[in-house]
């Protein structure tokens, strides 16, 4: 049963049918599990030797050294155990058309683009490589890609378990497509390069930043307007009930006066006129409902982080300056090829950077896509929180997330920061740090049992526990 006002309030918080709780979804009920590990990576840099993790109803209930299995718990054993890796920049399991869709709006929910039957073999390989969840994002190259979701890769999960967060982040891009070359086509048997997109000059790119900032500010304005309206509506209701009480009180008197006036008028033969009733208060007009502004209000409110794919220095500076004023906004820079210069400023502002770890050939159109793999190290040195993504170029790159993280270690990033980049920092960047990223009591049970140290070359997952259930075991090879 929906009382109209309740609906309006719910819509305000939930936006276009966003569920009230934005990130914590109830994981699976059911069986108990005990995982024994020679080395348990509780969180990057903290390793317990010969430790156990106890899981009940999809949650971690105990982490310790000499735990006893819960009654009826299934036991799983392995050399290394860590929290499942999260790929914050992937296109695995997302409908390719939606990823490439140009006319998405801020209110588009990428959760709708997740196709649980798609690329099943690639998802199995990613699980075998220890990646348990990815950010699903439609409109990856669109100016504003809409609201991304964090989705588990395991199969056979129902909707509640599949989404760690249906509406996790807002995705936007600035300055992309600086002259991407056209694709290659066979014309009459010849490999012919089609004309590419015209490059954007710096003014167009700065203009993109301004338009993005305008939308954030508008979202904030919409939020304020909604709150004000809620406020005014309450006030108006108070006044109405007061007025009604007052009228109810002297209704009898009014009735008497009216009868008298009516009889007088009849005597004098003049037509009887009702008393004029005026009210000095008016119902506040409902604000125009707009899904896009609803979505932006969530960003302005800090309910979901804003991920912006930006590479060049000019746009980055304009973006940081523009968003400085917006209070509770949680900004994350994605890509950030030239962000190393602003590392100190980013660290001070608490802005994290999502690095694209996929090495690209120098022949790329946008020279900023030829990622310099030492970017993560240089940012990390100055205290910037670095998350690592597989870059979303192709769905099967997610499988190699651990290798890409190891490669960043090879280019100067400390090993512990690389592990954080694919677990804790990735969870934080996506706003699901309370649900995933570490092996701590209360968090969802998304764990991987490895046959070797997670970032080593020969590492692969022997068991994967996702949403509290064993979703991958050795014999499923």
């Amino acid at each position: 049963m929906h009382h109209p006002r309740a609906w309006l309030a719910a819509a305000l918080v939930a936006g276009v049918g966003f569920p009230a709780s934005l990130w914590a979804q109830e994981p699976a009920q059911g069986n108990a599990l005990l995982i024994r590990a020679e080395h348990l990576i509780v969180k990057p840099g903290v390793v317990l030797e010969n430790a156990q993790v106890s899981v009940k109803d999809g949650r971690i209930v105990a982490v310790g050294v000499d735990l006893q299995p819960l009654p009826g718990a299934q036991e799983v054993r392995g050399k290394w155990v860590s929290a499942g890796l999260i790929d914050a920049w992937s296109t695995l399991g997302v409908d390719p058309e939606s990823v490439a869709d140009g006319n998405v709006t801020p209110a588009t929910r990428s959760a709708d683009a997740v196709d649980p039957w798609l690329q099943a073999h690639l998802r199995r390989e990613a699980l075998r490589a220890g990646v348990v969840a990815v950010r699903a994002q439609a409109g990856l190259a669109a100016r504003v890609g809409g609201v991304g979701a964090v989705v588990r890769l395991a199969e056979g999960l129902d909707d509640a378990q599949r989404f760690v967060a249906r509406d996790a982040v807002m995705w936007a891009t600035v300055g992309l497509g600086a002259g991407a070359p056209g694709g290659f086509q066979i014309v009459d048997g010849e490999f012919v390069q089609m004309p590419g997109q015209r490059g954007m000059d710096v003014f167009e790119r700065i203009d993109m930043v301004d338009r993005l900032l305008a939308q954030v500010v508008a979202g904030r304005g919409y939020l304020v307007a909604m709150n004000e309206h809620k406020h005014e509506l309450a006030e108006w209701k108070k006044k109405v009930s007061e007025k009604e009480a007052e009228l109810e009180k002297d209704a009898k008197k009014a009735k008497k006066d009216r009868d008298k006036a009516e009889s007088d008028a009849k005597e004098k033969g003049k037509p009887f006129e009702e008393k004029k009733y005026k009210e000095d208060f008016k119902k506040p007009a409902d604000p125009r409902f707009d899904e896009d502004s609803e979505a932006w209000s969530l960003v302005a409110d800090g309910a979901i982080p804003l991920l912006v794919h930006v590479n060049r220095d000019a746009e980055l500076r304009a973006l940081l300056a523009g968003l400085e004023g917006v209070g509770r906004l949680r900004l994350v820079v994605a890509g950030g090829a030239e962000s190393a210069r602003h590392a100190k400023h980013l660290a001070k502002q608490g802005v994290a950077v999502l690095v694209n770890a996929l090495p690209m050939g120098s022949g790329r159109s946008d020279e900023y896509d030829a990622h310099d793999l030492s970017l993560a190290a240089r940012l990390g040195k100055d205290g910037v929180k670095v998350a690592i993504g597989s870059g979303g170029m192709s769905p099967d790159a997610t499988r190699d997330l651990a290798l890409l993280a190891a490669q960043l270690v090879g280019h100067g990033l400390p090993r512990v920061d690389a592990m954080a980049g694919v677990t804790t920092n990735a969870a934080e960047v996506l706003g699901v740090e309370r649900a995933m990223g570490t092996v701590e009591v209360g968090k969802h049970a998304d764990l991987v049992v490895w046959n070797a140290e997670p970032l080593s070359t020969a590492a692969s997952a022997e068991y994967v526990v996702s949403a509290g259930r064993v979703v991958l075991a050795p014999e499923q090879q």
Binding site: G189, L358, P359, S456, T457, A459
Partner: protein
């Protein structure tokens, strides 16, 4: 550049001995706390305990010392000059003539531990010309290392002859029927051939062509070559595995492992569609992850690749008499988390530094 203020050591001068935690002779043999004696750009002696006469400086290196990596197909230094569309076959063309020695790509390759590279012409014609082999210091080793012969569809077009596989086969047979110059050298087995192929039927036709004319060389460009590993092994041809990089489909990764199992000599190349220099070791790591033994992957980066490149007498192995192309890694070379701390080409430090 993470430049520690260390002694930048040129090894070219007098004799120097490098001692590292581990010296990898090749993929399968390594010496703990091994030492390598270098004189005038060449390796003189390798062993666990060398009796050095005094005056020889011993440099302690933390990490693993290996031979320099060899990349088998990279368009470094030739930019877009690697193609001349005017005639279907130009056996005498040499990509070396278009080589720009101080291309930034060489520095990037050195930073990845690559010391020698085979530079190939664009495979868009029947016989695009000869490949070149260079050290990533810019020094040209050989102006004509292989003759590039294209069996793939990349040499076919609807507007120029040949427009069919049949005619392509016929024209190649005609070229080899009355060979002279580079073709004659190739027919006599003096010049190995780099067969550019893509699909499995093309690969099989190249093997057939080589068997009929007893040609030697390597097959390059077929991602699923491993699925015909037995036939390739019998043909005695080598395989250049193109480094697709992260996201390599599972079927192609397993095909690489099949090559190792069947004992086919293979090396890694950087001629793939996205050929960033970092991919050489990344694909080796991917192969190990899919079941390739570590020594096969290591040899694919060094020893076997050197023999395919025609450097079997001077590079790819830490052995007396070979060039002093050495790389000091911070850890196991097949772990991507290890980085090249120092790279020497013919005894000269060309990247990084040593305490």
């Amino acid at each position: 550049m993470m430049l520690a203020t260390f002694l930048v050591l040129a090894l070219g001068g007098g004799d120097v001995a490098l001692r590292a935690d581990k010296v990898w002779i090749d993929g399968s043999t390594s010496i703990d706390k091994g030492m390598v004696l270098v004189r005038d750009g060449r390796i003189v002696e390798v062993g666990a305990k060398l009796d050095l006469d005094e005056g020889v400086r011993v440099v302690e290196c933390q990490g693993h010392l290996t031979a320099g990596l060899v990349a088998l197909g990279a368009k470094v230094g030739v930019a877009d000059a690697a193609l001349d569309p005017t005639r279907p076959a130009m056996p005498e063309a040499r990509v070396a003539h278009a080589l720009c020695r101080d291309d930034a790509g060489f520095a990037a390759l050195r930073a990845q531990g690559v010391t020698s590279v085979v530079i190939t012409p664009e495979a868009a014609k029947l016989v695009p010309g000869a490949t070149a082999v260079a050290k990533t210091s810019g020094a040209l080793v050989s102006e004509r290392a292989h003759l590039s012969v294209v069996f793939g569809a990349s040499a076919l077009s609807l507007n120029r002859e040949p427009t069919s596989y049949a005619r392509q086969g016929e024209m190649l047979s005609e070229l080899f029927a009355r060979p002279e110059g580079a073709l004659l050298a190739a027919k006599r087995g003096q010049l190995p051939i780099l067969f550019e192929v893509q699909s499995k039927p093309e690969l099989r036709r190249a093997i057939e062509f080589a068997r009929e004319r007893k040609l030697t060389g390597a097959l390059s460009g077929a991602p699923l070559a491993g699925e015909l590993a037995k036939e390739i092994a019998e043909s005695k041809l080598a395989v250049v595995v193109d480094a697709g990089g992260a996201g390599e489909p599972r079927r192609e990764a397993l095909a690489m492992v099949e090559l190792a199992k069947a004992g086919v000599p293979f090396g890694f190349g950087l001629d793939g569609p996205r050929n960033p220099w970092q991919n050489l070791r990344l694909v080796a790591a991917l192969a190990v992850r899919h079941g390739m033994p570590r020594q096969a992957a290591h040899d694919g980066l060094t020893r076997t690749a050197a023999s395919i490149a025609g450097l079997s007498e001077r590079a790819g192995v830490v052995k007396a008499g070979f060039d002093a192309d050495l790389v000091l890694w911070s850890g196991d070379p097949l772990e991507l988390s290890s980085a090249p701390k120092a790279v020497w080409i013919e005894g000269a430090l060309v990247h990084g530094a040593v305490q």
